[in-house]
């Protein structure tokens, strides 16, 4: 479904992505790990269109994404939850979720109501606080809201950028476990960027290790955990 080849993204002649190639595994969780500055966030932002690559290709079901706008990429079934609780603080919880499904409203009106209900079932606390301003939520709740906004559009691919950033371990574990269950239940494909490689590899099916903008390893998660030299060299444990 998602095939990336030789992707290069530059910022003022610094190559954040230096020739990345891999394929997403449908219905599975692939985690992208690596040190700070390895290019993980840039990779997600290039896929969703927020950054334009200088060369390379991103094929989504054989359609080339690199020339498309962010909005049209999202409408094609890719949802991106950027790092840092991407919600609109001045809008209410319900409005944030509604925003995520707006573009589908005309064609899938009934379906949107169902999707919203499902999202509230996934994160009941959001239903309780649905009329409150998003800015008044706790960090964990805001992250849940950000993910809900992405999920309500029923994406085929979910790009999650450091969902555990700034959250207490228990809460981030809870969130990741919910995403994990969702993936198993619905066959959603997930590309998960995580700083904490250990936790990420435990829940993921596949792992991609980035270093300095290049793919260093592309292995099933179990093998990556088992490879101690890899872990020592790039992940520090």
């Amino acid at each position: 479904m998602l095939a990336i080849s030789n992707l290069v993204t530059e910022f003022d002649s610094v190559k954040a992505l230096n020739g990345i190639s891999f394929q997403a595994k449908p219905g599975l969780i692939t985690t992208v790990i690596g040190a700070n500055g390895a290019g993980k966030s840039t990779l997600l932002r290039t896929i969703s269109g927020l950054e334009k690559p200088s060369s390379g290709s991103i094929k989504w079901f054989d359609e080339e994404l690199t020339s498309k706008s962010v909005e049209s990429i999202v409408r094609n079934g890719i949802a991106h939850v950027p790092e840092g609780h991407a919600v609109i603080s001045q809008l209410s919880v319900a409005e944030n979720i509604e925003l995520g499904g707006l573009f589908r409203r005309r064609s899938f009106r009934g379906d949107l109501a169902i999707a919203t209900k499902e999202v509230y079932e996934l994160f009941p606390i959001l239903f309780e606080r649905r009329n409150e301003a998003a800015g008044s939520l706790s960090g964990g709740e805001r992250q849940m809201l950000a993910i809900s906004r992405a999920l309500v559009s029923r994406p085929k691919l979910l790009l999650l950028d450091e969902p555990s950033l700034g959250l207490a371990p228990m809460i981030s574990a809870q969130i990741i476990s919910i995403v994990n269950n969702l993936c198993r239940a619905t066959g959603l494909t997930v590309l998960l960027v995580e700083q904490n490689a250990n936790t990420a590899l435990t829940v993921a099916d596949h792992g991609i290790l980035l270093a300095l903008g290049k793919v260093v390893a592309d292995l099933p998660a179990k093998e990556m955990i088992a490879d101690s030299s890899l872990r020592a060299a790039y992940l520090g444990y």
Partner: protein
């Protein structure tokens, strides 16, 4: 007592119009980050269109509707033809100065104002002409006594009130209104929700254009129509927006009414010549005491 009532009623009617102008300014400011100084030029232009239609025997209401539609189209053209190219990536490389980046759109809107005024002069000879009002501008009588308010004032207040109600419903209860609010608050998250932020912004310009057209139609029966008559309206509208809060739609409306009363009371209790000075003093006071406006929120600048 009668002078107080006169001041109050005329202040309400004038304030309603200022609220419209202010609303249009704030819409574009929040949606596109630009203060559109050409706004009243657009209003003047569309009012001339209406005036031409009326002179050619079309009914007032036909002309009214066409003026509003022209206002929307003109607003959209300004965004698509000027503002978008200005802020496109290619141009932002040329302007490596932070302050120039904010001043260039302002200068551009002044350019449009100049062009619109000149075009109005060329098309319609720039002569001052009257503009009809659908309701007789005579004082309303209860029995034998004259109330200090005319039928036309009531019409203005009614129309503006209706507009504000429709606008509120639009922004709080419709999907497009939500998209507009979201685009203004956080364009990146809105784009990631699959919404074409650019198109939404153009719609904001179109709505602002309609609001300004309406203001033009409502104010010209009293002031007459010429390429320069609406300049004062822009200045008052701007002051109203600043006083109420450039970042708040509700604030802009509030500011409009406040200015309406200030000007009206200065007119009645002081002298008409003092009006400009009063506006300037009011603006300076607002900027010193509460720069973000009554209902505005303080902008946090992150370093």
């Amino acid at each position: 007592m009668t002078s107080f009532l006169t001041a109050f009623f005329s202040g309400t009617a004038q304030g309603a119009i200022y609220a419209l102008v202010s609303l249009g300014l704030v819409l574009v400011w929040r949606g596109a980050g630009v203060v559109n100084f050409a706004q009243m030029g657009q209003a003047m232009f569309t009012t001339y269109i209406a005036s031409q239609l009326i002179q050619h025997s079309y009914s007032y209401w036909t002309a009214f509707v066409i003026a509003l539609i022209s206002g929307a189209i003109l607003g959209a053209i300004v965004d698509l033809g000027l503002m978008r190219p200005l802020t496109s990536r290619k141009n932002s490389k040329l302007l490596n100065s932070q302050s120039l980046r904010t001043t260039i759109p302002v200068i551009a809107s002044l350019g449009i104002l100049g062009v619109l005024k000149a075009l109005a002069g060329i098309f319609w000879a720039g002569e001052e002409r009257g503009f009809p009002s659908p309701v007789a501008p005579t004082a309303i009588k209860i029995g034998e006594t004259n109330l200090a308010i005319t039928g036309f004032d009531l019409f203005v207040i009614g129309v503006v009130f209706l507009t504000l109600v429709l606008t509120t419903i639009f922004f709080t209860r419709t999907g497009m209104g939500l998209a507009m609010r979201a685009s203004a608050l956080n364009p990146e998250v809105t784009r990631l929700s699959g919404i074409k932020v650019g198109s939404v912004r153009t719609l904001g310009w179109a709505i602002s254009g309609t609001a300004s057209s309406l203001a033009g139609l409502l104010v010209t029966p009293r002031t007459n129509l010429s390429p320069n008559t609406l300049d004062l309206l822009l200045i008052v509208g701007f002051t109203a927006a600043v006083v109420g809060g450039l970042s708040s739609l509700m604030g802009s409306v509030l500011g409009g009414f406040i200015l309406g009363y200030v000007i009206s009371f200065v007119n009645v209790y002081s002298a008409p010549e003092n009006v400009f000075i009063a506006i300037l003093i009011f603006l300076l006071l607002a900027l010193f005491i509460r720069p973000q406006g009554i209902l505005g929120s303080k902008e946090v600048r992150r370093v």
